[in-house]
Amino acid sequence: MTAAVLTKVGVGSAGALPVEPTIDPARAPAATPVLAIEGLTVGTGAVDLVIDVSFEVAAGETLCLVGESGCGKSLTCLAAMGLLAEPVRRKSGSVRLGATELTSLDDRRLRDIRGRDMAMIFQDPVASLNPVQRVGRQVAEALVVHEGIAMRSAMRRAVELLGRVGIARPNERANAYPHQLSGGMCQRVMIAMALACRPKVIVADEATTALDVTTQAQILALMKTLQDETGTAMIFVTHDLSVVAEIADRVAVMYSGRIVETGPVDALFDHPAHPYTRGLMDCRLHALSAAGGRLAAIGGTVPRPSARPVGCAFRPRCPRAEERCEMVPELKPFAGSQSAACHFPGSAR
């Protein structure tokens, strides 16, 4: 049974998207981007919550968006999915899925893409499932909506999917309500739901944050395995660096609405270029010994979006800040594969 599903969920078999992704040689040296976000600015009223964010992910690649709470990670994801809710809205920038510009689509066309080509997994799996509907039906609904098949056959596929995400006795569990399942189990259901229509991109917004550590490890392993099998591109939002180390291919660090550093995960962990990234690395538990037994912390707090300092938003907390930092630094290449938005990238503390 499992094998049959495996082939069904393969990358090449999707074929539902009307336009094939185009290759832009100038942009992606490694692989064709499946999802490309460019110059995305999101805000409410005069306040910008996400500023000029650009990144892309290729098939089979995992990009981690990292940063403290309120730095705009989740909003970036919601904007990519076209799920921003009033009064927050996209002010400018483009979101391209393959060759399709999503920001110019009307809600109907976007609805066809959501859940089919792009799927999202949310932070609180229990609250993210409809409490009064059986979970199998909720997984099946994606198939009913996008593939126009009857609920009966959709339910059969839903049971297969539930088995595939590691739910034991999927036949019985499909009839369970969310409150009868654990948080980890509910997140598996969410993953099954996301996988249902073999999406090109999965956006996971703090997908493991609400789970305990062992469950978190299981879910991460599952997502990695499934991604290897399906070749889906993944955007994984987290504030947990151990999760990043576990799952990321590339990392984009966000601070106060902007991407301040981006690069391959190893490079970022080995030699962080931006002082904020460095600060984050020093806050990790296993940096303890290096810091002489005291856990490091970044002094100060993230500025409110309505009261950002002039220039680099990290300036008030930065040990390296100078007069020059009153100018907003651009995101510039650094040490080959990395980019950092800092006037003094990679310099010592």
């Binding site: 089919r116 499932l129 909506v145 309500y177």
Partner: protein, 312 residues
């Protein structure tokens, strides 16, 4: 929904009914001696005593209570001295008319109340929302009988398009049903709106959007079933008020239902009738509450679950 849940609710319904029966018994005994209330003041003491004996009022209270409960269990609700017939018969022949009026008002409420509430919630902040809410405040604050009189003035007296009283055709039903249903619909509309608004902001609604579920399906398939419990609660609770309002509205339109019978029975001190109607209303409420409880269990699987099932 487990059998234990249903049995538990049934037991509670039975206890509620017993309580209502006991309450009626106590209130009737406290409201004075029915014999002296019914007979003229100058009735000879021997006649009064004879009546007391005939109705068993000379026996000790516990025995009276036991006889009374036993009588009810046998369908003996006492004798209407005004009609000289069993009280139950008198009341029951009025029930169909009241049911006709009540159910029409209920249907009106569900259509206008729930429909209006959904519309207001989905069009939140627009003129549709404001208009609906203004209407609900009006419906809330206007006493039933006053609205009834206004309707009679407009439709029966001024424009002469609807009969002002009586029964017989659907045209007779319009004004009483609208009068009875208006405040009820207003309450239901407000509850539907707020309950739906709350649900619309739940994370699972965002999940449905992220899944690409069309708007109608999101509202009908996800939002409404979750908003259903407060709506069913208020529909059930307000049904009591509907029965109460019928007592006022029926006489206004000379609608010969149970409500009108109750008003005239009180005026004539026909205690058996009053007692029967009070018990009938209590019985109706208990049945409605039982149905509401069952609906809860059906709407929300988290209700009516015995702890053992949770481990599944």
């Amino acid at each position: 929904m487990s059998l234990r849940f249903i049995l538990g609710k049934l037991l509670r319904a039975f206890l509620t009914l017993l309580l209502a029966v006991t309450f009626v018994f106590i209130v009737l005994r406290m409201s004075g001696d029915p014999v002296s209330q019914m007979l003229p003041d100058d009735t000879p003491a021997s006649v009064v005593a004879a009546y007391r004996q005939m109705w068993g009022l000379d026996r000790p209270l516990p025995e009276q209570y036991a006889r009374y409960v036993a009588g009810i269990l046998h369908g003996d609700f006492g004798f209407s001295f005004r009609d000289n017939r069993p009280a139950l018969d008198v009341v029951l022949e009025r029930v169909p008319l009241s049911l006709e009026l009540g159910l029409t008002a209920l249907a009106l409420t569900i259509v206008l109340g729930i429909g209006g509430g959904i519309l207001a919630a989905l069009k939140r902040g627009t003129s549709v929302d404001h208009a609906t809410m203004a209407f609900t405040i009006m419906g809330h604050s206007m006493p039933n009988f006053f609205l009834g009189i206004l309707l009679i003035l407009a439709f029966a007296m001024t424009w002469r398009i609807l009969p002002s009283s009586g029964t017989g055709s659907w045209r007779h039903l319009v004004m009483p049903a609208v009068t009875l249903g208006t405040s009820y619909a207003a309450t239901v509309a407000r509850f539907t709106r707020s309950s739906l608004l709350e649900v619309l902001h739940q994370p699972f609604m965002r999940t449905a959007r992220a899944k690409g579920v069309p708007f109608r399906r999101r509202i009908l398939g996800h939002a409404l079933p979750n908003a259903g419990i407060p709506i069913v609660t208020v529909v059930g609770l307000r049904l009591g008020a509907l029965i109460g309002a019928a007592v006022v509205v029926e006489p206004v339109f000379a609608w010969p239902g149970v409500g009108q019978l109750l008003v005239s029975a009180v005026a004539f001190r026909d205690l058996a009738i009053v007692q029967t109607i009070v018990l009938l209303i209590a019985f109706t409420m208990v049945v409605v509450n039982f149905l509401v409880d069952l609906t809860y269990g059906w709407l929300d699987p988290r209700i009516g679950m015995v702890s053992g099932e949770a481990a599944a």
